[in-house]
């Protein structure tokens, strides 16, 4: 049985990615799109500067959900769907929050949002986690 019930807020995650996170994430993921790692290129295509990878922010959402609900167990997250909106930038805090929307046996469903500077950069995110019985 899960300790969670619908309406519970999950523990929030606050992260301020440093200036070089997009470079390190590019190396880790293999996504070297210049909008993430080249300030001048990003500005030339109309962005305020280099932006974080959406999948990096989705990675934070996955991390926050698993930490809050299952103590970071890598088996816990069963499903995660997100919509990317706007953009997020390094050197500004990202806050991941969530609310439990349903519990069915060992399954917990959470609505998750990632915001930066008041803007929702990931929204309509639904995470489904399995809580281990022990």
């Amino acid at each position: 049985m899960s300790e969670f019930k619908a309406g519970d807020q999950i523990a929030e995650l606050r992260v301020t990615p440093d200036k070089y996170v997009p470079h390190r994430y590019a190396g880790a993921s293999g996504d070297f799109n210049p909008i993430h790692i080249d300030e001048e290129f990003a500005k030339a295509v109309g962005l305020p500067g280099s932006i974080l990878h959406g999948l990096y922010v989705m990675g934070l959402v996955a991390k926050a959900s698993a930490l809050a609900v299952a103590d970071g167990d890598p088996r816990a997250l069963k499903k995660l769907s997100v919509q990317f909106r706007g953009m997020s930038r390094p050197e500004q805090e990202i806050v991941v929050t969530g609310e439990v929307t349903g519990v069915d046996g060992d399954r917990v469903e959470v609505d998750v949002v990632a915001t930066q500077d008041g803007n929702q950069v990931i929204r309509n995110a639904t995470a489904e986690l399995a809580v281990s019985p022990d």
């Binding site: 390190r24 190396g27 880790a28 999948l55 990675g59 069963k78 995660l80």
Partner: protein, 146 residues
């Protein structure tokens, strides 16, 4: 101009990726994921994993080689300059550990136009060396001004 939909239903060859312990560590250090099961084989085995285990979103690392070529396929004819990553969905099954060989097969699920935007929706299915499914993905790219 009507959007080109020739690629709908098309599949591409599977892409094979061998998962390495240091690559999992590199990914986890960027995300500041600190659970020792992602770094130390003994810690991973103590929790019932075969070896150092990848966090769920590591799936983007072993899937990337499959999804990249799809976006460049002339049948898809996707305008990169106007493209944004609109949405992403993953559904996980078997955990992925260091030493696993993961094969990812991409398919084109949908291409459609809505309010002047092109929606390009791709699916991916990843299986391990035993043929067990590890993750299934839905990747939505949006192109402005089609």
């Amino acid at each position: 101009m009507a959007i080109k939909t020739d690629a709908v239903g098309k599949s591409w060859p599977a892409f094979e990726y061998e998962v390495g312990r240091e690559k999992i560590g590199e990914y986890c250090r960027v995300l500041e994921i600190q659970n020792p099961v992602h770094f130390e084989p003994e810690a991973a085995r103590a929790k019932g994993f075969r070896n150092v285990v990848a966090p769920p979103m590591f799936c983007v690392v072993y899937s990337a080689g499959a999804m990249g070529p799809v976006l460049f396929d002339p049948d898809v004819e996707l305008n990169f300059a106007a493209m944004v990553h609109g949405g992403q969905e993953f559904e996980w099954s078997e955990p992925v550990c260091s030493g696993d060989v993961i094969s990812t097969t991409p398919t084109c699920l949908e291409i459609y136009e809505k309010d002047g935007r092109g929606y390009y929706v791709f699916g991916s299915t990843s299986v391990n060396q035993d043929g067990d499914e590890v993750v299934r993905g839905v990747w939505t790219n949006i192109v402005r001004g089609v």
